[in-house]
């Protein structure tokens, strides 16, 4: 029996819907839920916490069916992107408010508030009203308020998406520390992969209210299964056919390219090859290297994406994306129209079916 089990959850609230979602989480898991906007991730959280009643399906927490429990009986906390701190209370009051239903003793409440404030570094801010705090501070206060009650389950609904990159990084570290200290099971909705890498031990990909893939981050990112997941995760997806086997390598002819993959396949089989953009090396000349795949192409586009550069390379009639640093982009003098070689290892050309 899992710690949290969501079984066949169905709900339609107009703009969003859940159609038969199933999830499992063990105690202490940090589960990242990712998926495009409008995929029903937030709705799923709000159904688990009990703000919406599902039309079908069950939610089981610690072996108890809580599907019909009101939200105040579930011992689940939530942190939203817009922090939702009560504007008429100062930070101390906000955190203490969460505790008052659990603890009666004023001294004990104060001690608990001070402790969590210490962990999240907001000890100095306790007497301030939420409106006077920065985005990162508000979010830390909101996390403190949710964690201080030691909930069975902590739900995070894109808590960092309104923050700048540096604050995000800092907050992730603090959150990690706080969660270890308060040993909570977490469901974290995000579309930021950094969140997944830094925090999660399991990933669930959702689209249109359905679970597309679940597993540990490594396997989901390295070997995204259906086409959608691969595209959403931003890998290059090339359709092709297995031509031959060369020793331990599979040779795939995909969209005019000859690609060596170390994944096994049968000759004649129709397959899809996935190559992560960050595993492609761009070079001005064809290199002699251990990487088995070197394809010649032409740069068709260069885009900045956060602190990295995405380079689109046209190869025959296909196009693949590579992610490099701005420095490398400058060194290689990349601009549309330039000839370039894309180099990648056979082990990074994943065959997905």
């Amino acid at each position: 029996m899992s710690f949290l089990e969501v079984r066949d959850l169905c709900l339609d609230v107009g703009d969003f819907e859940l159609s038969g979602i199933g999830l499992k989480a063990e105690k202490g898991d940090y589960l990242a839920l990712i998926g495009p906007t409008g995929s029903g991730k937030s709705l799923l959280l709000e159904t688990i916490i009990g703000f919406y009643g599902p039309e079908k399906g069950r939610i089981i927490l610690e072996g108890k069916d809580i599907t019909n429990f009101p939200p105040d009986m579930r011992q689940i906390s939530i942190v939203y992107q817009d922090h939702v701190l009560f504007p008429h209370m100062d930070i101390f009051e906000n955190i203490a408010y969460a505790l008052r239903k659990k603890l009666r003793d004023k001294k004990q409440i104060e001690a608990e508030v001070k402790q969590i404030a210490g962990v999240l570094g907001i000890g100095e801010l306790l007497h301030r009203k939420p409106a006077t705090l920065s985005g990162g501070e508000k979010q830390r206060a909101a996390i403190a308020r949710s964690l201080v009650v030691r909930p069975k389950l902590l739900l995070l609904d894109e808590p960092f998406s309104a923050l700048d990159a540096r604050t995000k990084e800092k907050l992730r570290e603090m959150l990690k520390k706080a969660i270890n200290e308060y040993s909570t099971t977490v469901l974290h909705v995000t579309h930021d992969f950094e969140d997944v890498w830094a925090l999660a031990n399991r990933v669930v990909v959702i689209r249109k209210g359905e679970v597309m893939q679940a597993g540990d981050p490594e396997s989901v990112f390295k070997r995204p299964s259906p086409d959608f997941v691969a595209e959403f995760l931003g890998t290059n997806v090339l359709k092709g056919c297995v031509k031959a086997l060369e020793g331990k390598l599979t040779v795939v002819e995909a969209e005019g390219m000859k690609i060596y993959s170390s994944d096994p396949a049968e000759p004649g089989e129709g397959v899809t090859v996935s190559i992560r953009p960050e595993e492609i090396i761009l070079a001005r000349e064809a290199l002699e290297s251990s990487a088995r795949n070197t394809v010649q192409g032409r740069v068709s586009g260069v885009f900045k994406k956060e602190h990295l550069v995405v380079v689109e390379v046209e190869i025959g009639n296909a196009e693949i994306k590579a992610v490099i640093t701005p420095t490398s982009c400058e060194m290689l003098g990349l601009e549309p129209g330039r000839e370039i070689y894309a180099v990648f290892k056979a082990s990074n050309a994943r065959i997905i079916r």
Binding site: E46, I49, G50, F51, P70, P71, D72, M73, R74, Q75, I76, S77, I78, Y80, D82, V84, F86, P87, H88, Y97, A98, K101, K102, V149
Partner: protein, 268 residues
């Protein structure tokens, strides 16, 4: 630089037109109000103000309006909350019915109330309990209540709508029940909106005329509230008294709008 440049640009005729209309008619309105203030000599104003009839009327207006404002607030807060947060059968009907009195004349409302509380329907039963609504002071309060209630519901409804239900949901998740959440989170967050609607309700109640006249009757020194004083004295040709009650009503309205603006941050 930009600012200077835009100032020297020729304004479009449309802009001139709209600003012109705004200025002209606001000026006319201001003139109208001004006339009311400067027609009377201060000594006349003072003597009418201190006349027995005016003092009675002021006192009765204050008392009835306070009573009706309190009852309106007690009923409109739950009504507005239910409309804003819950879905229940008949909700849209309730919304429509509450919207009606804003469009139809107060006088008709008074007539309807007179029929309801008169001899035909509720009157005999209430009278058996010793309650007399028609042509009584209680009638004033009831008329004011029904005039102001729909407005109050609307203002409070929009106040509740402005509060993201997530605040309440978060409070629920910490183990607070619905009523506790309402008391600790929703009410404090709605405070300024509630105050503003209280003020508007009071102004509405004190200014209610048609419904009051029909249901409570406009009898001298009995059910005479400020608008009734104005009306009665115009009919007698006693202009000093009429103007004085007009100035009083205007002063109250002015104070109401002033505090409304202050608390609602001038939303229009």
């Amino acid at each position: 630089m930009r600012c200077l440049k835009s100032r020297s640009v020729n304004h479009s005729w449309f802009r001139t037109f709209t600003v012109g209309i705004a200025c002209t008619f606001t000026f006319l309105l201001f003139m109208t109000i001004g006339t009311l203030l400067f027609v009377l000599k201060p000594s006349d104003l003072l003597s009418s103000l201190l006349s027995e009839e005016m003092l009675y009327s002021m006192k009765l207006s204050m008392l009835t309006s306070s009573a009706s404002t309190i009852s309106v607030m007690c009923c409109s807060i739950p009504t507005a909350y239910a409309l804003s947060r819950f879905s229940f059968p008949g909700k849209s009907v309730i919304k429509t019915v509450l919207g009606l009195p804003m469009a139809f004349p107060e006088l008709v409302m008074g007539l309807a109330l007179l029929l309801l509380f008169g001899q035909g329907f509720l009157g005999p039963y209430l009278e058996a309990l010793g309650i007399k609504v028609t042509f009584s002071k209680l009638g004033i309060i009831i008329a004011q209540f029904f005039v102001a209630f729909p407005y109050a519901v609307r203002v409070i409804y929009s106040t509740f709508e402005d509060i993201n239900p997530r605040y309440e949901q978060v409070s629920r998740s910490f183990g607070y029940g619905e009523f506790e959440t309402f008391r600790h989170v929703t009410l404090p967050m709605a405070r300024s909106g509630l105050f503003a609607s209280g003020v508007i309700t009071f102004a509405r109640c004190i200014g209610a005329f048609g419904a009051v006249l029909v249901l409570a009757g406009g009898s001298y020194m009995h059910t005479e509230v400020l608008p009734v004083t104005l009306y009665l004295n115009i009919s007698y040709g006693n202009l000093e008294m009429a103007i004085t009650s007009g100035i009083l009503l205007m002063g109250i309205a002015f104070l109401a709008i002033l505090s409304f603006e202050k608390f609602e941050g001038g939303r229009m």
